[in-house]
């Protein structure tokens, strides 16, 4: 026993003595409960309550159009549709709890829409928006985009569709009702889910911390990078596919929607309040990574991700408001933006996950 005890003792003394200055910095400060509280208070709660009121406004404007079938009603509806769509960009990443259970994000924002399906639904008046997965691409914001911009070549023609008979209006109502209903489900569930969420701090595959980090990365990679840029830009196909942009029918808000989404991503990562943009105290994804990576300054991963996000945003800002035009006139610039966004994916999925050592394993491993 002496044989073993001695070297152990020596080593422990050695490591004690040489790390005194460091251990202050790397103490047990990765406070996950503060992280979850911040996520709920500064992002989720703000985002979903703001969105709820905006999506309800869409419903009111649909009612207005129903009562007064005028161009002014259509314009007002279009305005509220855009406002709500922008607010949606802030919460699509929170695909957790009830949202995940009811396929909230699939029902709210799948694009490109299936216009043939929409027309068939309108014609038959017989459809199931709740349970039929084939109807995911026939509801939500992109479908409203189609119904408000895509069913005629100008405003008058579109209005005509709503005045001639009730079929289009019925579908418009059904879609907006469904969006409001699903949103209420999610918002109400958060009232009870909140406490469970905040206290689920473990490092297990099903804990809220890990689920949320995975959701965040997944959203950045798929919902943001691939859907908004990669797919229409032609990264995953032999040729560009501009018909797959998010606002294919209104055509004038692609950049706005992307920037809204990006700002929410940036705020989430940096630890800034979703609406005010002011840094909050306590833990954020960035603060935890910065502490876990022992490198300093520009080499520290926390800062590296910040820089890369910043330069990605600069590349988005210079794009045309209409991504279809951008892709058709100068896809190279569009793909450069994609590359800048992609660089962050590498940092999130490789470097960040390495430090967080997030437990998603379900098979034994011996670390080799």
């Amino acid at each position: 026993m002496k044989k073993i005890a001695l070297p152990f003792l020596i080593i422990s003394i050695l490591s004690f003595s040489c790390d005194n200055n460091e251990s202050i910095e790397i103490g047990p400060t990765y406070d996950r409960s503060s992280l979850l509280e911040n996520w709920y208070n500064h992002h989720i709660n703000i985002g979903i309550s703001d969105f709820k009121s905006k999506v309800e406004m869409v419903g009111e404007m649909v009612d207005l159009l129903n009562n007064e079938k005028t161009l002014s009603s259509l314009t007002k509806l279009r305005e509220e549709h855009l406002k709500a769509w922008k607010a949606w960009q802030k919460i699509e990443m929170f695909n957790i709890g009830k949202a995940e259970e009811i396929y909230y994000k699939d029902k709210m924002n799948i694009y490109p829409v299936n216009s043939a399906r929409i027309e068939a639904n309108i014609l038959s008046g017989n459809y199931d928006l709740k349970n039929d997965a084939n109807n995911y691409a026939a509801q939500g914001f992109p479908t409203l985009d189609y119904l408000l911009y895509g069913i005629g070549s100008n405003e008058e023609e579109i209005l005509e569709k709503y005045t001639s008979d009730n079929k289009y209006l019925n579908y418009l109502e059904a879609v907006s009702d469904e969006m409001i209903l699903n949103t209420e489900k999610v918002v109400n569930d958060w009232e009870t889910y909140k406490n469970e969420f905040i206290s689920s701090t473990d490092n297990t595959a099903t804990s809220a911390v890990n689920l949320m980090v995975n959701d965040f990365i997944f959203y950045y990679e798929k919902g943001f990078r691939a859907n908004k840029f990669g797919i229409p830009g032609g990264v995953f196909s032999s040729t560009p596919l501009p018909e797959k942009v998010e606002d294919y029918y209104s055509k004038s808000n692609s950049r706005t929607l992307s920037l809204e989404a990006f700002d929410a991503i940036q705020a989430f990562y940096e630890g800034k309040n979703l609406s005010t943009g002011i840094s909050y105290s306590g833990a954020s994804l960035k603060s935890i990574i910065t502490k876990l990576d022992t490198k300093e300054g520009d080499d520290n991963l926390g800062n590296k991700i910040s820089y890369k996000l910043k330069s990605a945003r600069e590349k988005i800002v210079i794009l045309d408001q209409n991504f279809i035009d951008q892709i058709q006139s100068d896809n190279n610039t569009f793909l450069q933006t994609y590359d800048a966004i992609q660089e962050v994916v590498v940092l999130l999925k490789v470097d960040m996950l390495q430090f967080l050592s997030i437990n998603v394993d379900y098979v034994d491993a011996d670390g080799d």
């Binding site: 026993m1 044989k3 073993i4 070297p7 152990f8 080593i11 422990s12 490591s15 004690f16 790390d19 460091e22 251990s23 790397i26 103490g27 047990p28 400060t29 990765y30 996950r32 701090t201 473990d202 490092n203 297990t204 804990s207 990669g230 032609g234 990264v235 995953f236 196909s237 032999s238 040729t239 876990l292 990576d293 022992t294 490198k295 080499d299 991963l301 590296k304 994916v345 590498v346 940092l347 999925k349 490789v350 470097d351 996950l353 390495q354 430090f355 967080l356 050592s357 997030i358 437990n359 998603v360 394993d361 379900y362 098979v363 034994d364 491993a365 011996d366 670390g367 080799d368």
Partner: protein, 428 residues
Amino acid sequence: MGYSIIRFWSKGWIEELYILPEFHFSYYGFEWVKPIGEYTYILFLICFMSTVFITLGYKYRVSIITFFLSFTYIELMDKTTYLNHYYFISILSFLLIFLPLHSTFSVDSFLKKKSFSKVPSWSIDSIKLLITIVYLYAGIAKINSDWLFEAMPLKIWMTSKYDLPVIGELFLQENWVHYLMSWGGMLYDLSIPFLLMYHRTRIIAFLLVVFFHVFTLVLFPIGMFPHIMIFSAMIFFSSRFHENAIKKLKSAIIKLNRSLENYTSQSIEYYKIKNEKFVRTVLFLFFLIQLILPFRYNLYPGELFWHEQGYRFSWRVMLIEKIGYTNFKIKDPNNGTSFIVDSSKHLTSFQLKQMSFQPDFILEFAHYLGDIYSTDETKVEVYAESYVALNGRASRRFIDPEINLYKEKESFKNKDWILPLNDEIKGI
């Protein structure tokens, strides 16, 4: 081992790992070993039955050969699941084929009415030698600068265990704990076989074994490994210790079944091994390979932990934390158009994770994709966009993006399309 198979089965891993995936990563030279559809269950059943027979000591020789073959076949089906302790089981069972484990206290000896009290000492020593090699090589592999001077990757793993009761927040976040564990682990591996051999330190050493492996069991998801190592360490105990244990077990069995009391067998002192010369030659070669194989990495230039050429089958356990992100670009050489493949359509998330940082996986999958996207007229080109991070270092490009992997062939030659780590991990 029987339990291990039941555990594997009950977790649904047979289906998940061997039946559902459309593609399996093969070992070089063993591409013909593939899961056999629904029959894979029968393979596992055969493997399980052989463990029961081995434990009872019934038809020992046939059973252990069956076990070795079926278990090794299972492991060869997909290298995604490679673990050092599966390899250990495989070669241990190979070794056991040549040893007379059924000489006493077994159904075989009961039926033949022959029981042997002594077997050649080399037969037991060879098991001890194998375990010694495992620990010793695992210890030697830990003598490297990442492990000892950066406390990597233990630092990453331990800080992420903040949710463990009591020790998680207080203990595992401390820098000195990471270093203590790294150095302690290295010294443990290097010294434990010798402490087990020496009769005075044996009890303490065994307690250390139990403590160490239970500790790793709590900290890391390493499955059956701790159990296996704890039990195999018991081979170091003297024959007297085991005889006493067996005596107690025997009397318990007799209490259960009185009729056995009248059973007598011819007790012979020495077990004579047939073809002893042949067996000894096989074992000599076997151990020679075991001693040399872990050093084969010296044949490859560059950093072993980075390119992993010569990494497997060498008792390098818990040494690297590696994460990769690898996408494949399919290029049509005729018109220059290209696109990125969604790999998750072809691989399970576990395969995807393993593929992303191991060059031989990347190459094999690139060929699989090349086969899919090529037509009779056009042979496509396959390029990898690959980034890997190792032991807390920043991620960097892993595979040369200019190299058409579809043209590269798997072999034991150095893969020169792996980009260098540009950092040195000193060590043996």
